[in-house]
């Protein structure tokens, strides 16, 4: 036995302890997007100090909150190692269910029906992925067409029966400078955080993305975990659809279309691992804020809005690629130095 082997027990890499929230955020990839958020808002305020007025704050919140909620739905699927291509279609379907049913049913009735729609869509996706062992990308691509068609059958053009009351409770102001949409987002995010971080089931969501076989050999049920995660995701997306309906006061079967790509972009920016097992709620919400406001930043800066996509892409690349390059450099130089 040489000196190297005798030292193995103590010479393990510096342990990344996850007791505190900060370490957990770093592990889940959220530090870079948090930093990006801070820089982005500093730049934004420099260009447009008017953001901090009541009106602009409220409209910015109403822009960000639906995106943040739908991206949280996407994050849940990504944590398990999957992806949801039907997320925009689920948004559109829930949106029209809510906007049309509010005429016949009471508001709570429409609300329940809308959330149930999201859960059922998630359950269909989840059972095909978990129990039929199909890849999430294929399953959700197929169901996306079905959900989108159903939405158009329910309502084929923008409309619905939404009232100003709905606008007030979803997108108004709770107190001066406190948009009510941010309150809803906070409540849902805290609930989701409790689910993911403070229940045994939630930890399994991370577990199946990290090592499905290992979860199984620990005597747990990875299939059930995947199914339930899709259902929770569907519920979260339906909340996003309600916020969207409330802030625009229209039901629109196509309202969810743009959220497919933007929810994936937000999750990419948030530092979550697309192979599963790592990702954070805070990182996702702040990433949604950044990507949601690139367009209005360019408006205030007087730049052609087509640049929005280029800027968004550059932000994602910078935040995702730079830490990887740093890590790669560290690993290469460690290899070159050889074993200690």
């Amino acid at each position: 036995m040489s000196a190297t082997t005798t030292a193995t027990i103590t010479a393990t890499p510096p342990p990344g302890r996850l007791a505190s929230g900060f370490k957990r955020l770093r592990y889940d990839g959220a530090l870079a997007p948090i930093l990006a958020f801070v820089i982005f808002f500093a730049v934004y305020l420099a260009i447009n100090p008017g953001l901090l007025t009541r009106f602009q704050l409220q409209s910015a919140a109403n822009l960000i909150v639906p995106l943040a909620l739908i991206a949280l739905g996407q994050l849940l699927i990504v944590l398990t190692g999957g992806i949801d291509i039907s997320i925009g279609a689920i948004t559109g379907l829930c949106n029209v269910v809510f906007a049309t049913q509010i005429a016949g049913l009471s508001t709570p009735g429409a609300l329940i029906l809308c959330v149930a729609t999201g859960i059922v869509c998630g359950a269909i996706n989840g059972s095909l992925v978990a129990y039929a062992n199909l890849p999430a990308i294929a399953v959700t691509l197929a169901t996306a067409f079905i959900y989108a068609a159903l939405a158009r059958l329910i309502l084929d053009r923008p409309g619905g029966a939404l009232t100003d009351g709905i606008y007030k409770v979803t997108s108004g102001e709770l107190l001066p400078f406190v948009p009510v949409s941010l309150v809803w987002l906070t409540l849902i995010a805290v609930g989701l955080w409790m689910f993911l971080q403070r229940t045994a089931f939630g930890r399994q969501v991370y577990g199946v993305g990290s090592g499905r076989a290992a979860v199984q050999s620990a005597g747990l049920k990875p299939r059930l975990t995947i199914l339930v995660t899709f259902m929770v995701s569907g519920a979260v997306v339906s909340f996003g659809a309600i916020m969207l309906a409330g802030s625009t006061l229209t039901g629109d079967p196509r309202s969810g279309d743009s959220y497919l790509l933007s929810s994936i972009a937000v999750v990419a920016l948030s530092g979550a691992a697309f192979i599963g097992g790592r990702g954070s709620i805070l990182g996702t919400i702040l990433s949604a804020a950044v990507l949601g406001m690139v367009g209005s930043l360019l408006f205030f800066a007087g730049i052609n809005s087509y640049w929005q996509y280029v800027i968004s892409a550059l932000i994602i690349l910078a935040v995702v690629v730079i830490p990887r390059l740093i890590q790669f450099g560290i690993r290469q130089s460690a290899l070159r130095r050889g074993p200690a």
Partner: protein, 512 residues
């Protein structure tokens, strides 16, 4: 747990003779392969039973069956006097059988405490990181693990520490039978001492321990009795003090009827040029490997599975990152090697898994044979496959590939014939080094003979062959030299008449 006063009472002698687990005549078939073929053994209460055997002898299959991860094809198991047939790992744990697996079964993105606590929660209820940490602290300190913080993510741990966590998790289920499947393979001497102390605590309590290992030194220290497995069958039993390591090594290696191996080509002369020379090669899983191969020489890589053989071959082909103090191909430095550069420098490679790494299964036999040469066949213009027709026919003939023709999808061929295609790419292509990863794995005897013949012909034509085989007999009969790897290092180099099954096994398990 350690300070429990009841535990200091010595177990009475009667307890020791009571059978805890009786396995008789177990068989397990995977398709046509017999992983187990008549394995019988008994573990008494409070004793350590060792299961020893070569690679592929069936030891891990036994552990998987007892742990509930898979079933038996035939045979009976009795645990505590009742039939035992757990259909899941959690069921086996509830019955009182827990296993620390060789392939680590921990969730990499979970912390140590999540890995220890969550399995027994079965996915229900609230989960407090703080409570789990405190509970894990208690478990770890009861088992005398002081250097691990339960809040550390398992993926950040070294292999040895991960293995300790896996062992702790198995013990924390309070089993009455504990299975340790190569549980010490990554542990250093201090870790092994720790493990032995845990085993002694458990056996004093009447727990039976099945200790699966290659390491004979450890077995002589800890095992009360043992059973030798060879080719899936139990071939010998031994008890403490009644055996020597030499006996055991020859039981493990076996004296089975020898297969017919073709005559080795003569050893290349000492002044023959070196085709490959590496000094101090380091990479993930490898530390400071020295290796040379002359033109016409056949160099085997031996050792237990997972000691760095796969990594070494991949690095030599440029398929995995590595650095070395000296690295020469045909006397010229090999810097920043990548597979395309390796091919240009005259290196060929037959990878571990022909279906995923070796072949494009939906493409034709001809296209797969020409895969490394496509670039040179289409310098800017359309691909000229037809001009290579006579080479393709030559290779198919030489290796007696059974195929409908060069246009048949390679996925339609049998395993042996697929392997010939992966190998055939490098025939008559002016190679100086050929790297082979267990080229005869899972193919029939006739295809094996044909591959042996082709290997020897290439060596005779001056190609240096560096190869890894899990079959001892192949290394013994087809190599001029064998480098035995152990934990990413060359443990011993055997030459000429030194190459015997006993010497290879001995070097691999660390007795020589």
């Amino acid at each position: 747990m350690k300070n429990d006063p009841l535990r200091s009472v010595a177990p009475d002698a009667a307890l020791r003779s009571e059978p805890l687990l009786v396995a008789s005549d177990l068989t397990k078939q995977y398709g046509a392969v017999h992983a187990l073929d008549g394995a019988s053994f008994t573990c008494l209460k409070g004793e350590v039973l060792a299961l020893v055997g070569e690679n592929g002898a069936g030891k891990s299959t036994v552990s998987r069956i007892l742990a509930g991860a898979t079933g038996v094809s035939s045979g009976t198991i009795t645990f505590e006097g009742e039939p035992f047939a757990a259909t899941s790992i959690s069921e086996a744990r509830r019955r009182g059988v827990a296993c620390a697996f060789q392939e680590l079964a921990l969730v990499p993105d979970w912390t140590i405490s999540e890995n220890l606590i969550l399995p027994d929660r079965r996915g229900r209820g609230m989960f407090s990181q703080n409570k789990a940490r405190d509970e894990s602290d208690r478990i770890l300190s009861a088992l005398d693990v002081t250097h691990l913080n339960p809040s550390t993510v398992v993926g950040d741990l070294g292999l040895a520490d991960r293995q300790m966590v896996e062992i702790v998790r198995a013990i924390s289920a309070n089993p009455r039978l504990l299975i340790l499947d190569e549980a010490s393979s990554a542990l250093n001497p201090i870790g092994v001492e720790w493990l032995f102390a845990r085993i002694r605590d458990l056996t004093a309590d009447g727990v039976g321990v099945i200790y699966v290992s290659h390491r004979l030194g450890e077995i002589s220290e800890i095992a009360d009795r043992g059973t030798v497995l060879r080719d899936g069958a139990s071939v010998a039993d031994f008890t403490r003090g009644s055996w020597s390591e030499d006996d055991l090594v020859s039981q493990m290696a076996g004296r089975t009827a020898r297969r017919h191996f073709p005559e080795k080509p003569p050893v290349p002369k000492a002044d023959e040029k070196l085709a490959l020379e590496v000094k101090g090669l380091r990479a993930e899983g490898l530390s400071s490997i020295d290796l040379t191969a002359r033109h016409g020489e056949i160099v085997g890589i031996g050792g237990l599975q997972g000691q760095g053989q796969t990594e070494l071959l991949r690095c030599l082909y440029g398929a995995a990152p590595a650095v070395a103090d000296l690295w020469q191909i045909d006397g010229k430095p090999a810097r920043h090697l990548t597979p395309p550069r390796a091919v240009r420098r005259g290196v060929g490679f037959v990878p571990e898994d022909r279906k995923t790494e070796g072949l494009a299964l939906t493409l034709s036999v001809g296209e797969n044979l020409l895969a490394p040469w496509l670039k040179s066949l289409s310098p800017g213009g359309p691909l000229q496959l037809r001009s290579e027709g006579s080479w393709i026919d030559g290779v198919l003939n030489k290796l007696s590939v059974r195929t409908r023709g060069a246009n048949e999808p390679v996925g339609d061929l049998s395993g042996g014939n697929q392997q010939k295609i992966v190998f055939g790419r490098w025939i008559d292509r002016d190679r100086s080094i050929l790297l082979l990863h267990d080229p005869t794995r899972g193919i029939d005897v006739r295809a094996k003979q044909e591959l042996y013949q082709a290997m020897l012909e290439l060596a005779e034509s001056g190609v240096a062959i560096v190869w890894f085989s899990t079959e001892l007999e192949e290394l013994v009969n087809l190599c001029h030299r064998v480098a035995v790897l152990d934990r990413g290092r060359v443990a011993r180099v055997l030459e000429g008449s030194e190459i015997t099954p006993d010497a290879i096994v001995g070097a691999a398990v660390g007795t020589a």
